[in-house]
Symmetry: C2
Subunit: 342 residues, 2 copies
């Protein structure tokens, strides 16, 4: 994979200046520079370039999920490189596909940016998407997309998956006695975000690329978990094959997401604190881990990298730790939103 | 269909104030108000509410296309009602599906808006989408989506279609001697946009809702073609069944879009001026008609509402009218973009 940023993708978006802007090149020329960076993948019967693409759906249906990421509420160019933005936009959708028990097959991508944006920024986003697909969903590719202009850099990703003949794994299937298991990191992404908000901003509270660089050096794992997560996408189909009764992508913190399974299933989720580690608040309330939370019938050994972290109980909708109920804290993109930042 | 705007959807977005804002309600409560307005349709095996939806793809593949519409470059709330925005966002994607010869099955929708946006605006968009689906693609529905915050109202639609076992109709299949035919309106949408830019703006050049209302009354057909197009979506599958050799959605003007077929097919497209009407410049250069341009083997009578408007010739990539080459004029979303307007 080519990466025109030449630094492994770690240079922040705020630094990625130089070269022609998308306004100077125009839509067709920008597309001509982006499309060669985005292979359509092995499931595309027809890739980008016509009115629409055609994607294979071998079992007669497809899984589909969609996310909009907007500069300000969803990311900050002063902290994330374009490569990281593309990476994260891809994997957050891939984990939603995986959370149904499906294998990702393809993405479509909409990008909108101010006309003053260097084309190199969009190229970096494309490179990050491609790298994420190669790492987390080999064989899947980008089959189409759209460009527009916006005052805020906007990345819209829609992802598709193949259930390979299996039933989708819903949030509603957890049953009392089931094993609760998790695959992926817990709390690291939230730790990274907390560090960035605490030490990655200048005296006016503005995100600062140089301060973020320092944090990367001192806390590589946490910052990387936030800016370039590597969720266990393969674990989704593996859980389905192992008989998972419910599953979801942990994007809003373990407590809030467990409550979704608990409500949908009419059951309780009880975590063992010993399995959650020392930083319980980060693990329960922290956002954007993008691991997979699943339940398995009692007696099942959850497939690696899942590890047991609790048990399904009777009380409908309740989330608890060692039997003590917790209040699902959450994260809302409109809360405390400041469009002038980022 | 409910329409909370209570005026048939003609009230401009700039007027649609009042009621709670999306920032006041938060993401979950906004979604709870939008989802009941958006039926998942008959192709959804699983609609919104889990990590992803599941859509049937009976012939083992699906057609997919995506568009981003952003306030400013792509629409103006002073002119369009939320209902019209939702309608247009849906149909522009449905025609891309139809242009492959496919029947639309489902949409996913991403919406981003300033937190100060009244929820009624998003409800209006949802109502317009649902109405467009009922009118242009009965049986298709909205199976999922996402909300975020942005300084500019942003509507991201991804649409799916079913080829029903047929090969997709590409841009590359036109052959010398083929009949060139068109289904839908030609030039009306461009006439509407020209009227809005000329007479729908105040003395400072700002879009004005009251002036736009006057234009609606005096030029209902042109303004409606621009703000709430009714393209012949059914004509796409009909053309495929009739043996269309190439097809596309006319979104950038007949000349520019014909040139796409001409280049992809290595052939010429020659229009008969008598079939294009008096306002040739609007028809050739005008954008967003969203009709379907197709070619059919010589001797085929194109299925209604297609009507013959020309012939495929030998000269690769050339577009002409009565044998005289024309320069494909086009439309670029980054050209003359002014994010402060709209």
């Amino acid at each position: 994979m080519e990466n025109s940023l030449g630094d492994g993708g770690h240079r922040s978006g705020a630094d990625a200046a130089g070269g022609p802007t998308i306004g100077e090149l125009g839509e067709d020329a920008v597309l001509a520079r982006l499309l060669p960076r985005l292979a359509p993948g092995g499931f595309a019967e027809l890739g980008a370039g016509d009115d629409a693409a055609v994607v294979r759906a071998a079992d007669g249906r497809f899984v589909v999920t969609s996310d909009l990421m907007v500069h300000g509420p969803d990311f900050r160019l002063a902290w994330s490189s374009p490569y990281e933005l593309g990476w994260k936009a891809a994997v957050t959708n891939l984990t939603d596909v995986a959370a149904m028990g499906a294998r990702p097959t393809a993405l479509v991508v909409g990008l909108a940016a101010p006309p003053s944006t260097p084309v190199a920024v969009l190229e970096g986003i494309a490179d990050g998407m491609r790298a994420a697909l190669e790492r987390c969903a080999p064989g899947a590719g980008v089959v189409g997309g759209d460009l527009s202009a916006s005052p805020a850099l906007t990345i819209a990703v829609t992802a598709f998956g193949d259930l390979e003949g299996r039933a989708p794994v819903l949030r509603s299937g957890a049953r009392p006695g089931d094993v609760v298991a998790h695959a992926g990191e817990l709390g690291e992404s939230a730790r990274g975000l907390r560090l960035l908000f605490a030490e990655g901003v200048d005296e006016q509270g503005e995100p600062d690329p140089r301060l973020a660089e320092g944090l990367r050096a001192r806390h590589p794992r946490a910052v990387s978990a936030q800016l370039r997560p590597e969720p266990p996408v393969d674990a989704g189909p593996a859980a389905a094959i192992a008989g998972a009764t419910s599953m979801l992508d942990v994007s809003d913190g373990l407590a809030r997401d467990a409550a979704r399974i608990a409500r949908a299933s009419g059951a309780a989720i009880d975590f063992e604190s010993a399995a959650l580690g020392a930083e319980l608040a980060l693990v329960l309330g922290g956002a954007e881990d993008h691991g997979l939370l699943a339940t398995f019938p009692a007696g099942t050994v959850p497939p690696a990298p899942f590890r047991p972290i609790g048990r399904v109980g009777e009380a409908a909708g309740v989330v608890s730790v060692d039997g003590e109920a917790v209040d699902p804290a959450g994260w809302d993109p409109y809360a405390d939103w400041d469009g002038g930042r980022g």
